[in-house]
């Protein structure tokens, strides 16, 4: 009941954020008053990139006359001279300057920079950007969805007890048991698995829910490219890394710094190699998830962009058919990447829990 109220207020908050109608961009130079549409060439790579990358506003649609309809998102900046700033991103939309901040261009494309009163000079102290960007809102949406699902699950268990599963239990219990019996226990073993189940289950469902939400284009908060953001996957890999190191036994550290059976003159190289291996494994986790999800989004965007490159409606059925096929593949990849991330995290944790053999 409480989660339902909370969810309702969150959706209310999202809809109260004023839907800002942006003005037209400066591509007016080619405007032909005789024809219906703009004559500007379709830039495929920027079309793809702006749908994949993060942004300070949530772009909903572009009307025929070029006006953008988008939801402005909160911008939170920490600027060393002036302190903490909080405003909505419609204040700095399309090039405007607000309180000395504006969206950078050129080298600083996509970031918020601080400008002098005099001109366009960017100072040495760039503001630290803690904004709630599109990715953050997508993550929050996924978190709320996950919370709703799992709180409903725990409530239904409290009501019926561990009898035959009904309702949402029947949906989630097989997945949770799958994670436990196929991924965690075979690697970590029955003795220690309960310590790591919360983290591994959380990471599995976080990646799964965010992957799937990235595939659904509409309405917000769906359609945010969360796991295709390397900062997000880096954080997840960092969590795995920290948990692996924390749960390392003495045997684990001995393997790294004094691998048994290695002659002493080989030890310096072995230590470097082992430390590189220690870092490379979470690094691989990060890049694998990021690259798989981003590649999927780029493929879908490219196929949709074909319609605009050829500039004809006849391409649309073919293109949409391919997009549907790629979306099915992407669904498989969404599940698979969540599975592989969790499986490899469990595997690395099990490697860290190695007992001394003698």
């Amino acid at each position: 009941m409480k989660t339902r109220i909370f969810t309702f207020f969150f959706i209310l908050l999202l809809s109260i954020l004023n839907v800002q109608v942006k003005g037209q961009e400066e591509h007016e130079s080619h405007h032909d008053t005789a024809s219906e549409h703009n004559e500007e060439e379709f830039d495929a790579s920027s079309f793809i990139l702006e749908h994949i990358s993060d942004s300070h506003e949530w772009h909903i649609l572009t009307k025929k006359n070029g006006e953008h309809v988008s939801i402005p998102l909160p911008v939170i900046l920490y600027h060393k001279p002036t302190g903490l700033h909080f405003f909505f991103s419609n204040k700095i939309a399309h090039g405007h300057e607000y309180k000395g901040f504006k969206l950078g261009e050129g080298d600083y494309e996509g970031r918020i920079v601080a400008v002098n009163e005099s001109g366009e000079v960017d100072i040495d102290n760039m503001p630290l950007d803690f904004s709630m960007t599109k990715t953050v809102m997508g993550m929050l949406g996924a978190a709320i969805l996950g919370l709703w699902l799992f709180l409903a699950l725990s409530r239904s268990y409290k009501k019926t007890g561990i009898s035959h599963p009904k309702g949402i239990q029947g949906f989630l219990e097989p997945i949770i048991l799958f994670v436990r019996d196929e991924m965690v226990i075979p690697n970590i073993g029955y003795k220690h698995h309960e310590r790591f189940m919360p983290y591994l289950l959380s990471v599995f469902f976080f990646i799964l829910i965010n992957n799937i939400m990235g595939l659904i284009p509409f309405p917000p908060p769906f359609g945010a490219n969360v796991t295709g953001n390397i900062a997000v996957t880096m954080t997840l890999a960092l969590f795995s890394f920290v948990i692996i190191q924390i749960s390392g036994t003495k045997g684990y550290w001995r393997h790294i710094f004094a691998t048994p059976g290695v002659p002493f003159w080989l030890l310096p190289i072995m230590i470097v190699v082992e430390i590189l291996g220690m870092i490379a494994k979470p690094f691989a986790l990060m890049v694998r998830l990021f690259a798989n999800i981003t590649a999927g989004h780029i493929i879908v965007m490219s196929l949709l962009g074909l319609i605009f490159i050829f500039d004809s409606v006849a391409v649309a059925p073919v293109s949409i058919f391919f997009v549907l096929f790629m979306d099915c593949l992407e669904l498989l990849v969404a599940f698979l990447q969540a599975y592989v991330f969790t499986l490899l995290s469990a595997l690395f944790i099990s490697l860290a829990l190695v007992e001394e053999h003698h």
Partner: protein, 68 residues
């Protein structure tokens, strides 16, 4: 020019991934043909190995994207 080189690099990585996943697929099919009862387990292992190899190929795509 760097764009083309990056694209060529990515294509070479895709060749490696194609070869690797092709070998996985073929040995999986041989194994399923030998023992059809184990088909489900073999399919599971095949999908996991394909995902891992695809990860390696996508490392190369990421490097190509960065180098561009």
């Amino acid at each position: 020019m760097t764009g083309t080189l990056a694209a060529i690099g990515a294509s070479i990585a895709v060749i490696g991934a194609g070869l690797g996943i092709g070998r996985i697929g073929s040995s999986a099919m041989d194994a399923i043909a030998r023992q059809p009862e184990a088909a489900v387990k073999i399919q599971l292992a095949m999908i996991i190995s394909a995902a891992l190899i695809e990860g390696v190929a996508l490392f190369a795509v990421v490097v190509a994207l960065i180098a561009d």
